[in-house]
């Protein structure tokens, strides 16, 4: 009997380098760990994910039902249904004094998808984009996937951009600056003079301004000024802001995944619409018909008031627990400083360890600040071979206060006990 040749073995192909390089979100990591713990029967206080406990407005849900009954389940126009774009344009004029008209409005399958489309529209591969040093982690994932080169602008102790540092970050490839006020994760609201200075900086250097306005409805203190409002003071041919809005927070529709962009000119809106095609094909039709009714009533102030009392409560409780923080003016998060904490043997504790241990030992889920400050380190081939957490971001953790008051109290109480036992 002759020995048969061994079967050839062909290993399966691998994933792309960029997919492997893309940092995983710190929020997802904690989210998954917390969920697993909950599934094992542990009562975890969830202060990690920013999903306020408000239900989607009844009129939106009724609108979706009506759309189903009317058989509106076919493909949607790529820029969104005309009814929704008109409703959004009317809201922009009424609420923010930006009379952009429906032609400047493009709908997207969520603000995250919008943001990705905008990044790709403004920046070619290897183009530079300026991000705040503490930022929402999706930015770095989108930047890595698109092959963009981020640089990070410094924030002061109140998490407001330090204007003096901006010029030094520019190079010939810089194409855009991203502004997020009120900020996720810090809750900082940029003062008007800062927003104007950032805008002027962008204008001087011919940059796009990408304005993430996801939290624009949630302001508790101070006056909110958006880069978009400043932009619309300019003649059309000089405008440079693409603003991204979400139904998720202001209208309590996180799971419906709809957002929109306002572009400086109609042709930019048209380009953004074309970007929807390869990313999502089209947009969910019945949900859009429901969201047309989001603006029918202005119940946002009610949600803001509910959040305001939790915002006050969170501030009180954290202060009582002796945890330092800079009071946020908006958003749904506190960014709590743990840089001065020491364990019993006098060692500082990293935000990562703090959050992992708080979850496992005290059953409270908060997100490590390090995850909001990842900065890529490039190897000689230009590949982001590793990510290092910026110092400022690594000083704290993010706590979401958009949860019922008793959960918030319990969460902070557990954190206090946990810190005492460190």
């Amino acid at each position: 009997m002759t020995a048969s040749a061994p079967e050839p073995f062909y290993p399966a192909p691998s994933l792309s380098q960029r997919a492997q390089d893309m940092p995983r979100s710190a929020i997802r990591r904690i989210f998954e760990n917390a969920r697993r713990l909950q599934e094992s029967g542990v009562d975890v206080v969830r202060l990690d994910i920013g999903d306020p406990d408000f239900d989607a407005p009844q009129r939106v849900r009724d609108g979706i039902s009506a759309a189903l009954a009317a058989g509106r389940t076919h493909y949607s126009p790529m820029a969104g249904i005309p009814e929704l774009r008109s409703a959004i344009a009317a809201y922009m004029a009424r609420r923010w004094g930006v009379d952009c008209g429906p032609a400047a409005v493009t709908c997207h399958q969520g603000a995250t998808q919008a943001l990705n489309a905008v990044m790709q529209l403004c920046c070619d591969s290897c183009a530079g984009v300026l991000l705040p040093e503490i930022y929402f982690p999706n930015y770095i994932q989108q930047v890595t996937l698109g092959g963009l080169r981020p640089r990070f602008y410094a924030l002061d102790e109140r998490f407001v951009p330090r204007l003096s540092d901006l010029e030094s970050l520019l190079d010939a490839n810089t194409r855009a600056i991203l502004i997020n006020t009120p900020s996720n994760p810090t809750g900082a609201l940029f003062p008007e003079e800062t927003v104007r200075a950032l805008y002027d900086f962008a204008a001087r250097h011919n940059l796009w301004v990408i304005s993430d306005e996801a939290y624009c409805e949630f302001v508790f203190e101070g006056r909110y000024v958006s880069p978009l409002q400043i932009d619309w003071e300019q003649p059309a041919e000089q405008r440079r802001v693409i603003a991204i809005y979400s139904f998720s927070k202001g209208y309590a529709c996180t799971g419906l995944r709809m957002g929109w962009t306002v572009s400086p000119r109609e042709e930019v809106a048209g380009q953004l619409m074309l970007m929807n095609e390869p990313f999502t094909g089209s947009l969910t039709t019945p949900l859009q018909y429901g969201l047309v009714h989001a603006f029918d009533e202005d119940d946002t102030p009610r949600r803001v008031e509910a959040l305001r009392s939790r915002w006050e409560l969170a501030g009180r409780e954290l202060r009582a627990a002796g945890l330092p923080f800079d009071p946020p003016e908006g958003g749904i998060f506190f960014f709590v400083d743990i840089s001065s904490l020491r364990t019993k043997d006098g060692q500082p504790i990293s935000s990562q360890d703090f959050c992992d241990r708080a979850l496992n030992e005290a059953h409270v889920a908060v997100v490590p600040g390090a995850g909001f400050g990842l900065q890529p380190v490039y190897d000689s081939s230009g590949r982001p071979s590793s990510f290092i957490a910026g110092e400022h971001a690594a000083k704290g953790f993010r706590l979401c206060f958009a949860v019922p008051e008793e959960r918030l109290k319990l969460g902070v109480e557990r954190l206090r006990g946990f810190i005492a036992g460190l």
């Binding site: 792309s16 999903d51 189903l68 995250t112 799971g255 390869p278 990313f279 947009l283 949900l287």
Partner: protein, 406 residues
């Protein structure tokens, strides 16, 4: 990004309609089905019970479970042989906001900038757009006269930077279905050359003749560590739910599914929760076979009409579309389609839309060339109602005759 000739047709059609003209739509084509009551009821339930919060990036467990059940039910033999049941398949599935978004995630997930991907020379235009956005070079493989992949054309173009090839059986725009032996050869090729085989199964529930095999089933028969098929499913056609934007990808192993789900994070954030709950009902309890039966009648009707009117073109064996050869008109497909719309008020999609091939940079950005094999045809959707179909074919034949005579 290329500007698709489809937009010219859409613009002219809406202009004609706004001037009071009546346009017969054989371009997109509205299949004669309403959304299943099961799916609507599922959505109502989700809304009533306040399930409107965030979903995990891969999708909610109810949806993933339903997708697994459906896949096992759709390919029972393959699943049984590989030892898959819904439970063991579920961790290999990643949900997506439509088949299109799944493909975008898959292309970004397997190709780096500078890599290349092989596409059918006549294909659904999103592939090229997605590759461009991902910074990936598109190469085009030849098809035979029935619009099925020519194996040697794929084989001869694979090089060290080739990461994947896409097949689409039944195909949009041609309706071509690859015979099982060809699918086996394509799968073997992918395994041996260690490239990904992206199996776009958007039309897998609509096959009207012949044996049908998918690369996914071949992959299940291969040893686990050699598996290389990423199978992309769409709920749009099978469940007549294009406006719900849901699909899913079946991956060779759970780790890969997990990695691909990670890409949903920057691309989408997550998926719509209430629509997933709704579609789970469809995947579990609504059978696309009934719709396939209806479409099969229209397919027969379309074949019959084409034969009677002397309209030629590759014979579709599945899907919703037929290509009609208009080369005898002496016009390119976009010109023909515009004249058909202007003179006969029939909207079809020019073949050029399925053959826009990037050919390098010019002074005004990327340049595209229209592939000849695509430009000979226009695409008609045969899912429209039989009267419109008959009228549309008649008028198309009339214009073609008239141009041929001229």
């Amino acid at each position: 990004m290329p500007i698709s000739p489809i937009w010219e047709i859409v613009r002219l059609a809406s202009q004609i309609q706004s001037e009071g003209g009546d346009v017969l739509h054989l371009d997109i084509g509205a299949p004669p089905f309403r959304l299943s009551g099961l799916i609507s009821a599922g959505l109502e339930d989700a809304l009533r019970s306040g399930r409107t919060g965030y979903s995990p990036p891969a999708g909610i467990p109810e949806y993933l479970h339903a997708a697994a059940e459906r896949t096992v039910a759709r390919f029972p033999d393959g699943a049984t042989r590989a030892g898959f049941d819904a439970r063991s398949l579920q961790p290999r599935i990643v949900g997506s906001q439509g088949g299109t978004q799944a493909l975008m995630a898959v292309i970004s997930g397997v190709c780096d900038p500078g890599d290349n991907i092989l596409l059918p020379e006549v294909a659904w235009p999103n592939y090229v757009e997605q590759a461009l956005l991902a910074g990936v070079e598109s190469r085009f493989y030849k098809l035979d006269e029935q619009m099925r992949p020519l194996l040697h054309s794929i084989e001869s173009q694979i090089d060290a930077r080739t990461r994947a090839f896409i097949i689409n059986s039944p195909s949009n725009p041609s309706g071509a279905v690859c015979p099982p032996q060809l699918i086996r050869s394509l799968h073997e090729l992918a395994v041996e050359r260690q490239v990904w085989l992206i199996d776009d199964l958007a039309y897998c529930d609509f096959v009207y003749e012949g044996d049908y095999l998918t690369a996914l089933e071949c992959d299940w028969a291969a040893p686990e560590n050699e598996r290389c098929v990423l199978a992309v499913f769409s709920c749009s056609k099978s469940y007549s739910a294009p406006g719900l934007r849901l699909g899913y990808t079946v991956c060779p192993d759970p780790q890969l599914a997990c990695d691909l789900a990670g890409l949903n994070d920057p691309l989408m954030g997550c998926l719509t929760t209430p629509l997933q709950l709704a579609m789970a009902q469809g995947l579990l309890y609504d059978d696309p076979a009934q719709r396939s039966e209806v479409l099969k009648e229209r397919w027969l009707e379309a074949l019959d009409l084409a034969a009677r009117l002397g309209l030629s073109g590759p014979r579709p064996s599945g899907g919703m579309f037929k290509l009609i050869d208009i080369s005898a008109s002496g016009l390119r497909s976009t010109q023909f389609a515009l004249r058909l719309l202007r003179e006969e008020h029939v909207a079809v999609v020019p073949g050029a839309a399925f053959g826009m091939h990037p050919v390098g940079h010019g002074p005004r950005g990327l340049r595209f060339e229209v592939c000849r094999e695509a430009d000979r045809f226009v695409r008609v959707c045969f899912a429209s109602d039989p009267q419109a179909l008959a009228q549309g074919f008649l008028r198309l034949a009339r214009l073609l005759d008239c141009l041929r005579a001229a």
